[in-house]
């Protein structure tokens, strides 16, 4: 499936997604197509369901009891809402960075190797008897872990700031550094999609600018979906923007078009500050 410009592939297709917390209807018939290696921003006033929508994409809402969900979310054509999908495996492909930096109370190094240690390293091995190839998981070696740490921290533009103190607590870092550490940590699972839930709302403008630069850079390798309450941020980084209001997806389109010529009255009101 191609996008408007004709060179992009659809990564996630959401079809008629409805979600309830108890009796509260939080997402209403949301249908949206998210493209590979693009940044898709989701904007809207508080309580419009944008974070909830984001959390559907890696099934984090499963952790909240009394959630009811209907519809389809196709990731590379496979419906991730189906019963036979294990959210634990799904989350290895769809990483997430949260609103408040949430490093573990461990060293910088231990934060990055957390997931590789749990998941192990995948290796293709040939069965000597049958000659069949199969995927085996084994414990990563110290060298492999060192490499992962360096690679992820470099990718998150944090390596130069922390390379001499990898064994120091992650809590010694500034807020912006902690958030970049969380991004590096997410990369350690080698996801295809990274979800950002208002990643800069707890950061100062300088730290925010660094994260934004990083986001634009990540676009080369990952499909990025970012929820933000900061419209300028969406305008700066996103290829496409979706505007949510009261659980409805009001308008979705290329960022420039949406900001300059919103098609819907509601979108224009929100963008010009007359609402929300």
């Amino acid at each position: 499936m191609k996008n408007i410009s004709g060179d992009q592939i659809s990564k996630i297709q959401v079809k008629d997604l409805n979600l309830w917390f108890d009796t509260k209807h939080v997402l209403k018939d949301v249908s949206i197509e998210i493209y590979e290696k693009e940044i898709t921003a989701i904007i809207g006033p508080s309580g419009c369901g944008k974070s909830t929508f984001l959390r559907c994409l890696n099934r984090m809402n499963d952790l909240i009891p009394s959630t009811k969900i209907e519809g389809e979310i196709l990731l590379d054509g496979k419906n991730i809402l189906e019963n036979d999908i294990d959210p634990v495996d799904l989350r290895k492909d769809v990483g997430m960075v949260f609103q408040k930096p949430n490093p573990f109370p461990k060293s910088i190094y231990e934060n990055i190797v957390f997931a590789p240690k749990i998941h192990g390293i995948e290796e293709i091995k040939k069965d000597p008897k049958t000659g069949k190839e199969k995927i085996v998981r084994r414990k990563p070696t110290k060298e492999e872990l060192d490499q992962i740490v360096e690679k992820c921290l470099k990718r998150a533009a944090l390596w130069n700031e922390v390379k001499d103190r990898l064994n120091k607590s992650a809590y010694d870092l500034s807020g912006g550094q902690q958030q970049r550490l969380c991004i590096a940590r997410t990369m350690s699972i080698e996801p295809e999609v990274i979800l950002f839930d208002e990643p800069c709302s707890a950061l100062d403008p300088i730290a925010t600018a660094k994260i934004e630069d990083l986001l634009v850079d990540l676009r080369k390798d990952y499909t990025v979906v970012i929820v933000t309450h900061n419209m300028q941020q969406a305008a700066r980084v996103a290829d496409r923007t979706a505007f949510f209001y009261m659980g409805d997806l009001v308008e979705y389109g290329p960022t420039k078009r949406l900001f300059e010529k919103p098609e819907k009255e509601l979108t224009e009101q929100y963008l010009t500050g007359r609402m929300g």
Partner: protein
């Protein structure tokens, strides 16, 4: 004009602040003062005892019998009694308590939790004499049937009843610590494809470890100091032995049993202070070790 009013208010506030700081500070100092006084009281009363009996006799003697015509002052049987009962108790209690904590804080659904948590808190508040009664009259019979020991009341009986008493203390403190682990750490773990068990093992328990260690130290401290339940459960034969199925007398039980017999100012009276001093030092050291473990852990991670 304005500045005058401003100044007066400021001064009044400063006095009030100073007064409150003083009162609260006095409360804080009072607790340290009481601790110091207890310590001094124990030392001054046991010094004459150590002068006449001697430290070596006290710490190496294997018999404790202060009221015999030839009085015996060896604290070893009491010390091994206390260690046997409380440490076997701790070995039983710690894994069960940890399992119970994990279930309660991470796995139990809210309905089960609503019943289980108050039940555990009530258990922590049951008077120890009730536990002692249960140990002496019920638990001892079960142990008789299973192990067939030569003493009906023995150290194992005391250890089990102490374990039962330690679990609720450990669980209620460590459950609080695990609950206090912020939700966003759990989310971070789940978001990276960790399972529930991996999250508990690698994120929640390490983050709650200071609280868990504190809860275990608290429970062991309680066990070492527990008197009534062990007094009723262990048979109180003062003998130097590491056999878990033999009758033992703990330091606390020795104090409780011998105090009514000792004439004030007598050697027996002073000897009891020496045992009390030793007990005080042991609980102090347990707390100190817990503190050191805690600070070492925090140095690594904070």
């Amino acid at each position: 004009m304005d500045t005058k009013i401003y100044k007066r208010e400021n001064r009044a506030r400063r006095y009030a602040e100073g007064g409150i700081t003083g009162i609260l500070g006095a409360c804080g100092i009072l607790s340290v003062l009481i601790l110091a006084l207890v310590f001094i009281f124990l030392i001054t009363n046991s010094i004459p005892f150590f002068q006449s009996v001697g430290l070596v006799n006290f710490f190496t003697g294997t018999q404790w019998d202060p009221f015999a015509s030839e009085a015996m002052w060896g604290v070893l049987p009491l010390l091994t009694g206390t260690i046997l009962v409380s440490f076997v108790g701790a070995i039983i209690a710690i894994p069960i308590g940890l399992g119970c904590t994990i279930y309660l804080s991470e796995l139990a659904d809210s309905k089960v939790k609503k019943i289980l948590k108050p039940a555990i808190e009530i258990l922590a508040g049951v008077p120890s004499v009730i536990y002692g009664l249960f140990a002496a009259l019920v638990l001892s019979n079960w142990i008789m049937e299973i192990f067939d020991p030569s003493y009906r009341l023995n150290a194992l009986n005391g250890a089990i009843i102490l374990a039962i008493m330690m679990i609720p203390i450990q669980v209620s403190v460590s459950e609080e610590a695990m609950n206090a682990v912020p939700r966003n750490l759990r989310e971070a773990s789940y978001a990276m494809g960790a399972t529930r068990w991996e999250t508990i093992k690698s994120v929640i328990i390490p983050a709650a470890l200071p609280g868990i260690i504190a809860s275990i130290a608290l429970a062991i401290g309680r066990a070492v100091g527990e008197t009534m339940a062990v007094l009723m459960a262990t048979g109180n034969a003062s003998q130097f032995s590491f056999d878990i199925l033999t009758s033992v007398r703990t330091m606390t039980a020795a104090l409780a049993i011998d105090v009514p017999e000792a004439a004030i100012g007598s050697l027996q009276y002073q000897g009891l202070f020496a045992v009390g001093l030793l007990l005080f030092i042991i609980t102090f050291v347990i707390n100190l070790i817990a503190d050191m473990v805690l600070s070492k852990y925090q140095e690594t991670y904070k």
